[in-house]
Symmetry: D4
Subunit: 224 residues, 8 copies
């Protein structure tokens, strides 16, 4: 009898939901379209919802041909089959500028996929700080805030000094020169002078959205 | 009429508790003993509990002479006057090795100061992974886990693959050579292959403990 | 009389087998197809088996047209003419994820070319550590283990704490952002907290496979 | 006849005032007390005002023994003999936190030495942004603003989005871990998302103060 | 009633001119042609002059189709609609070599857009220093100088030792190998041994030109 | 009943010998003298031989007071109680220069402690390559070679091109300036152009010696 | 009357030959084909020999159409019109491997252009050190040696320990992973343990060849 | 019969003078006073002149007690017994500032030890470039020039554009902040825009002086 987790080139972690509360996610960037599709098909066969990240349009086309209900977000590059559901609690995602939208939207789609309600605020970077204050009321509604920014990455510091909830800093590779592909934003966020901030990898909108959902819902999950 | 926040060389953020739920903390490393003491005295005059981090023994001696109830943890280098209290929920702090204890204990004392109950697990690094499995039951009791490690910093990845709660990765400067003062642990944690992990600055036990308490209690605070 | 080692643009090290036990290998990445082919033809004329690494499909096509027995592995990008043989001892190669397969397979093909028997285990990364424990029995059969991983590169540490044989850490460039092209995996492996680990260059599957074979067979060679 | 500029181990740039409008300054860090004193004595003999930076207390003691009018600022580590004067225009210097005071005060003393009026604002870092807004009226009075900050270095971005004058960003080495001795603040300031910002070297309060004075007074000097 | 600042994917900072004296500028690199065009159209509707930086020729073509008065500089990659005007004071821009022209011209076009008169000097790098001395008279006419250079970035140091006005150092990515994309020029400029120098991001001609104009005109603006 | 592995501040990995063939080793650098001594005492109570690395002379004095048979090597900074024994096979350790001796000797003492016979060759760096050729006969007797070098770290490449056994490259922090604390040697060794080389952390003589012994004896251990 | 040095976009340094003994060289990488051609034409009009480096084949085609005597080396990417001549003294250029040939040949063509006789030795890398010894007699004939190598860059150290003339180390970008684009070779060469070595930029064959010619001929030039 | 080269802890390279024209030099930084003294005594017994670099005053005292003719330069930290002699040709050493003197003087003493005549020019940094022009006549007398500078390291570029002889760039660790211990000067010199420049390690005055002497005298030595 064959093991449904085993695809030869990969072993799906079918027990992840038991251990961590949520199913495995398909990171498409390092995989061929054949590999990504085979994994998604097998997960659907096991009754699991599917979230694919870093999915190229061609892969999305192919998957939507096979699963008509699949949804693709071109900016976030996320591909989902199923997921979502209750949409409880509130996660806020704030993007400093237009160039930060791909990472920010990946966070939005990920948190929604796992069941959170998400509010996105665009263009609230610190160079025009009144735009952030305009949205502060909304941000204070959330249980956790994702702050996405490139360049100097100052947004999480400023937000964390104004709210009473955890701030997940999401550095992006937006910028040039001394941005060094997001390194300056990353370092700035790690050394944020306001407490309550923690940081994920550069452009890791998925990680930020996953963690935001975990914080949003975790208390309920872990203790009931 | 003078402003109680103003000490000339510093302006205490007396409104921080209103904005963020918790009072300001005194980072002693960049201040003279005179400056640190003056700030702590003023905060006590305003009725605030005091947490000093990176406090040297000589400062601790001086403060305990003035405030007999002050408590100093030599390993964590934390100095507290008041704080603590209800001790609700559970935060777990896991330290990979003995060299990671200063940072890990700073996280413990910080989370306790703000009111969390904290469980510390020592020497659970991945080189002898059975020691981690021995403590897994305990770790799964917590609402959030701080994982402190230097060198390759693999502990948060392994833990995050085994639990259903947020993991705060705390890189430490333990190690030598290619550890580059904690940089290798920091990079390893930022690129952790398991979701649910976010990272604070190297040796920033305070930041990890503050955020752990926020996650532990945040839902209650933000929505009642 | 001409020197068979001399091709004008290159001098083949025909005496390497005498000095080091194994013939020279052709690193195709820095050479034109003409150069690579000329070197391979000359080596065959001298009766040597040929291993080409980083070979593009077009070069493989060309070489197979000339040497029908040549074998090309598209994922590993290895091209072999002859080699292999006895297949003694056992080398284990463990890959953390699908994205690590190209480097891992280069190690597999290289060790096989020089005469080792090789076992490959896929998708045994530390985020789902039960998958590693499922393969532990097999890994313990080997005389030496190659552990390939990108991102935080924690796999070699965990394996080395569980086995009694040398572990060759093979960092890969899989990942993005703070992976910095494999640097984070490299640093993590160099600072592995378990002894018995040594490291080769990023994506250097050839070096890992060569060394694994040397350890597997070396004692016999060097002392008989 | 001897050249008054020549001290053997050094050649004072006595023509600098003619070329650049201001006399040379003595950077004491790389010089012995004997060397620093000899240079200062020679400059006084030539009728020049003296500004020594990075001066240790022992040197200050010695110089004040010889020049009773010499003034030493222990925090800024500046030593001045003469200078100052008209005190025209207004330069503002803003320091994010107490640890940034040495660099900020070096800027203050330098700008004052060359004849600017200077206003210092302490503890206006972005983690408690209301403290910055409290001082905004004052900052807007200045013709140029120096913004000193360590850690993530977000202060210049925020200020530059709020004022109509040049902002000189002064990164400091305050911080630890991923601050990397001021590198994170430096990179953050170089990639500031608000225009009107330029950056000097880490802890280079002298450079910031010199340039601030130049901008404050330059138009008058260069064109009359 | 809709907010004219709000485009959904972006919020234009329409109040920037009130706060900082100058309107917002459109950084085209991180935006789709649709997004860039929508922002420019909205700004024109609000009566604002438009400066787009890092604009590709295709975008320029499109915008010129819509706004016949738009001007595109192919080397600088700037696109302007309106702006310019009085052309008061003098800003000098010096480029070390031909490869530094794109950044230097971006500075020229930016300063002109905001109303400064600008003089450009090409090929005045330090390897043939007589070429710099040939232009020194012209440079001394300016109220502020932008010095653009790649490779070792020595130009600002040399110029600042010869003039009495602020020097804005503009590092460029010209060069190869140990230039590391402009890093060597950047570090060289930050550690310039002559005072009066400050630095902007690599290839940030816009930032240099904006600041040059601010210094050129600031005194007048801020105090009348 | 208490767990003998548990010392409160540390958990000794008493099962390591079962899993990996060798007992745990005490890294003294991150521990107080009290902690180091307590661990060593407990290990002796469990009948284990003790190897302490990075031990300061004061600790050595103290341990020798308690265990008269303890042996301290001042250069290697190793402290051993028991261990050694059969002394089978041959490991060669080659040091490029006198400054590399501390790391090289740590490798020697470690391999001896675990039962290997070790031959040390000093001052065989590539700047006087005849010194290496003088020792080549000896080096070829060994089953595995540790090559320790700082600065450019070229020794392992040269040796690996001359022998038929694995070469463990041990970068040292000897050098200054562009050595960057051993980084240049480390990078040089990772990119060694000869196959058969793998690398351990900078100054990690223990890791090199442990692995050398493992390779020397492993085949016998793992398969009997 | 127009200045023949002035091309608008560039100023040719026509006096360089007077100051430094040799005419300016055209670095084609940062210039359009139009710009490169215009400069070459103007130099020929002034009677100067032309050396263009980093010239693409298309530019070479164009220039050869105009100057039939122009010579293009496809591997070195050099384009020469005139130059060469006496061919006095001997410069040796040694290349570690085939991938180092482009940089090594750029050095060869440059030294020849300025009048040196040059001997090229290929594939003399340290992994097969007998190949270097085979050529040692030839290398000892030279007045100066250029040693080109990528990866660990050990070649200059080994050569400098064997000869009595200056060695110019030419790091190349050959390699991958921890080569970091030539950085590991560069650092290795800077920290070479043998004296008599100095280093030029990564892939800067022109600089190496220019300097080699200068050393070869300089004594004669400077003092007659 | 014992080998005079062998001191147990070290093997002196007694044949170096035969191979390279000059005897080995003693780098004292990595050696105990006992080791350094033993090597110097043995070299004197073999009739060799001795040059010790990075020698501390205590070692100098000790050696002068034994060899009354030994000469110590406190700034250069060089210790010489014998050497010097003919003093032929001319080497120029130019130091940008007072802080660069230790490295510059190490170059002076080294070149003198091996027989060159040396001229030192102090304080000729590019911030006051007239000071360099004042010395240009002298510099043009030399056959080779060493240019020592910290911070932005622009001096070699400027000099190389003005002279017809090789320039050895000697980066120093003078500076702070973004100097990164000499890294900015090193990178600046490697990317110098003027040809004829090559670079040695940071603070490696010995290497610069050794090479300068080699160039100064090499032609005569190698070919007579």
């Amino acid at each position: 009898m064959t093991d449904p987790a085993d695809l030869g080139f990969a072993r799906i972690d079918l027990k992840r939901q038991d251990r961590t509360g949520y199913p495995e996610v398909v990171y498409c960037a390092g995989k061929s379209a054949d590999q990504a599709e085979a994994i998604m098909v097998r997960m659907r066969e096991q009754g699991l919802p599917v979230l694919g990240t870093r999915a190229e349009p061609a892969l999305a086309e192919r998957i939507r041909g096979r699963f008509p209900g699949a949804v693709y977000d071109e900016t976030a590059r996320t591909l989902t089959i199923g997921g979502g559901g209750e949409a409880a609690g509130l996660v806020a995602v704030a993007a400093a500028g237009t160039s930060d939208l791909p990472a920010a939207l990946e966070a939005v789609r990920t948190a929604e996929f796992f069941g959170s309600k998400v509010l996105l605020s665009c263009d609230v970077g610190v160079a025009g700080i009144h735009r952030l204050f305009d949205r502060l009321g909304e941000l204070r509604e959330a249980r956790v805030i994702v702050a996405a920014a490139g360049m100097e990455g100052a947004l999480p510091s400023v937000i964390a000094g104004l709210v009473a909830v955890p701030v997940i800093a999401l550095p992006t590779s937006a910028g040039y020169g001394a941005s060094f592909g997001g390194l300056s934003a990353l370092l700035g966020m790690l050394t944020a002078c306001a407490p309550g901030v923690s940081v994920v990898n550069i452009d890791n909108g998925f990680g930020a959205g996953y963690l935001a959902n975990l914080i949003n819902k975790g208390a309920a999950y872990a203790h009931v």
